[in-house]
Amino acid sequence: MTQPLGHSGISTAVSTTAATEPRPGGRRRAAAPPAGVVKRRPRGGRRFTASSWVPWLFVAPALLLFVVFKYLPMAKGVELSFYDVRPFLGNLWVGLANYRSVFGDPQFQAALGHTVVLAVGGTIGSVIVGFFLALLLEGPARSLWFMRSAVFLPVVTATAVVGEIWRLLYYPTSAGFLNTVLGFLGIGPLHYLDHTSSALWSVMAVAIWTGGPYNMVIVLAGLTQVDRGLYEAAALDGANTWQRLRHITLPALRPVVTILLTLAAIRGFRTFTEVYVLTGGGPAGSTDVWMTRIYQLGFTRNEIGVASAAATLLFLVTVCLTVAMQWYQRRKEARP
């Protein structure tokens, strides 16, 4: 995951962590140990025995790193959002003025629109692509293992490199790679990143290209959980491929899809590197997203306070999104 920003970027990173790491509390409660085996601590009790410290001891190194490199900078970012940041002269308290200027800025409003389009389009696209890749490449065969690794490559390639490569692929004259291919079919040359009407869609295509294989891996993991017997039984009952997919695979993958959507949506809202490398937010601001706007404000205009306010808002949005998804998932799981 790329972290382009200093303190203001880190606040958005934390929410992802919150989403990726399964919360042990909820899961453990679902499978309660048999009565009498473990003595329950009284509710709300504050007594710690020596043994109750042991797990914390193991967690401590990671926790310490998280506090120093994530939570503290994040808190600092939230704090800065209430100040006119002047590193040398001393910060001035401005209350909610930074938030007001974010909400009042038409460029932020446009960027929000682009971000939502990119996040929704990229999420849906990459989930669908990931799903079909997973269906195609599921199985224990050695050749499939190779294919899966090959398909996964975009995920482990640095986003900046991916961006530069796509810049070349998208080269907007007939000499460009994609345009040469289209030329064989008698189409084009298309403008891709060069035109306000097509730039956002071209960026979205890159996001889907990189996000799809990542989702594939998660879906693959989900597919291994599906009971093979169900397929056989359905086949015996005369169900065709589509019916098996619709009535067995998809319902079984429901929890996986929820996680996928949460992760992909958060990734979508935090998109930065793809846009920054591919278009820098242009042409004419047509691909400007929330994060590139924050970057411009913070590091080109030196308005760290306003940039922090915008980053805090993004953080709140991702937290809300995560909580809403979790709540939705719980409700679904509660209803059989």
């Binding site: 503290l72 808190a75 002047r86 040398f88 002269l89 907007p172 306000t196 242009g282 004419a284 080109t300």
Partner: protein
């Protein structure tokens, strides 16, 4: 009930972290380097340079140490402003920096610079008056010492001109004709329609498009913000002259289409390969590109000319670097000595003759003869342009947001061929006026 307790438990560590954050925030900033508060140790000097420029600066500082015995802890910094802000936050700035004269207003408004007493520094009387104009703050005090100056000029492919049977352009109309011929008449003779006339770094990143367009705006008789005296400024972006100029510039994208493809998302770095690899024939830029362009496409294939004349002359952008004495330094004596050395003919010549990149382009010292030092008549184009027809961005105010807003507006106009130049510039003007107001310098 169950859900409530789970949420509380989850939020507790977060709240703790937030609280701890506010308590420890003060100690987050660490101190590093020898600059700022320390009266002993070497003088910490930063320049905004890559490794190539750094070689030239190292030569200068080595000569300084040899002469004065003062040691220099030199750091070339590419991501200059970001790192400087970090050091500002820890209240421990480097002692001396060398950076764009355009940064003066920005730094001064943040209290990062010491005012300069011209009389206390030997050799300042040898510096040209025009050079000093880029070192004055809004309050009329001097905040920098001029180190290098330059103006822009035009690099044109000589071999392409010959191929299409034309001469180097002297006016905007001729520029457009040559650019069209370079685009349409296959000047590289490869049988493909794959060349373009004019190189434009049109990205909004760092306001690139505004750097480029300012030359034309001034040549057209307009301006972006105008000084009204007494440290006050007024936005003048929507003048009739600007409407004409910007309409002409828009034509380069929308009707004649002579710019390189993808221009509106390209920074200077992104765009140069088009010139060096022979896809574009004209580039408007500074003399710092001699080393690069003389290698490819090659010195023998280039003709260097003054910028073609617009309706109101051929004013080009003047730029340059100042030496800044940073606030909070306890080494004022050493700072002064370094400043004196940097403007001396010795250091200026060292900077100009650096083998890979001349970090001093046009000397600010009247005792240095630029033509003699370079022994290359092409430099005269740039020194003449600087002396006679150049104009800097106002350095006293924080010009960066103004450049950014201008670039964003122009980028929008050039990307949407159906857009109205007049209303686009009108909107830009009110944005700029607002920006001047927020800086407290609006007329």
């Amino acid at each position: 009930m169950f859900r409530h307790s789970a949420t509380t438990r989850r939020l507790a560590p977060l709240a703790c972290a937030a609280l701890a954050g506010s308590l420890v925030a003060g100690c987050g900033a660490s101190t590093s380097g020898n600059g700022g508060g320390d009266a002993k140790g070497p003088l910490e000097v930063w320049t905004r340079s890559d490794t190539v420029d750094a070689k030239a600066y190292k030569r200068i500082f080595a000569a300084f140490t040899k002469k004065t015995g003062i040691k220099v802890d030199y750091k070339p910094v590419v991501d200059f402003d970001k790192l400087l802000q970090q050091r500002a936050a820890s209240k421990n700035l480097p002692d001396v920096t060398v950076n764009d004269m355009g940064s003066l207003g920005n730094y001064q408004s943040q209290g990062l610079l010491q005012p300069v007493d011209k009389k206390a520094i030997k050799g300042t009387s040898d510096i040209t008056g025009t050079a000093w104009s880029g070192a004055v703050g809004t309050d009329g005090k001097i905040y920098g010492i001029p180190f290098s100056r330059q103006a822009q000029g035009m690099f044109v492919r000589k071999d392409w001109l010959k191929k299409v049977g034309m001469k180097a352009p002297k006016t905007w109309a001729e520029l457009l004709d040559v650019a069209k011929a370079f685009t349409d008449k296959d000047p590289d003779g490869n049988g493909k329609n794959d060349t373009y006339g004019l190189l434009v770094p049109g990205s909004t990143n760092n306001g690139y498009l505004a750097w480029f367009a300012s030359n034309f705006i001034w040549q057209g008789g307009g301006d972006i913000v105008a000084s009204r005296g007494g440290g006050k400024y007024e936005a003048v972006a929507d003048s009739p002259a600007n409407v004409k100029t910007v309409t002409w510039l828009k034509g380069l994208y929308c009707s004649s289409k002579v710019t390189q493809p993808g221009s509106l998302t390209m920074t200077t770095g992104d765009s140069y390969p088009f010139f060096t690899q022979g896809k574009v024939g004209i580039s408007l830029t500074g003399p710092y590109e001699f080393p690069l362009f003389d290698k490819t496409p090659g010195k023998d294939k280039l003709e260097v000319i003054p910028a073609p004349k617009g309706p109101d002359g051929n004013t080009v952008l003047a730029e340059g670097e100042n030496v800044y004495l940073m606030a909070g330094s306890k080494k004022s004596e050493q700072q002064r000595k370094l400043a004196e050395f940097m403007i001396s003919p010795e250091a200026q010549k060292l900077g100009m003759t650096a083998p890979d990149a001349p970090v001093v382009r046009l000397s600010v010292n009247t005792k240095v003869d630029t033509g003699k030092v370079y022994n290359d008549p092409r430099w005269k184009i740039f020194s003449d342009a600087y002396a006679n027809d150049s104009k800097p961005f106002p350095s006293a105010i924080n010009y960066q947001p103004i450049r950014q807003d201008t670039a964003e507006s122009l980028n929008k106009l050039f990307a949407n061929c159906g857009s109205s130049v007049k209303s686009g510039l009108g909107e830009l003007n009110s944005t700029l006026q607002q920006e001047l107001k927020s800086q407290g310098v609006a007329k």
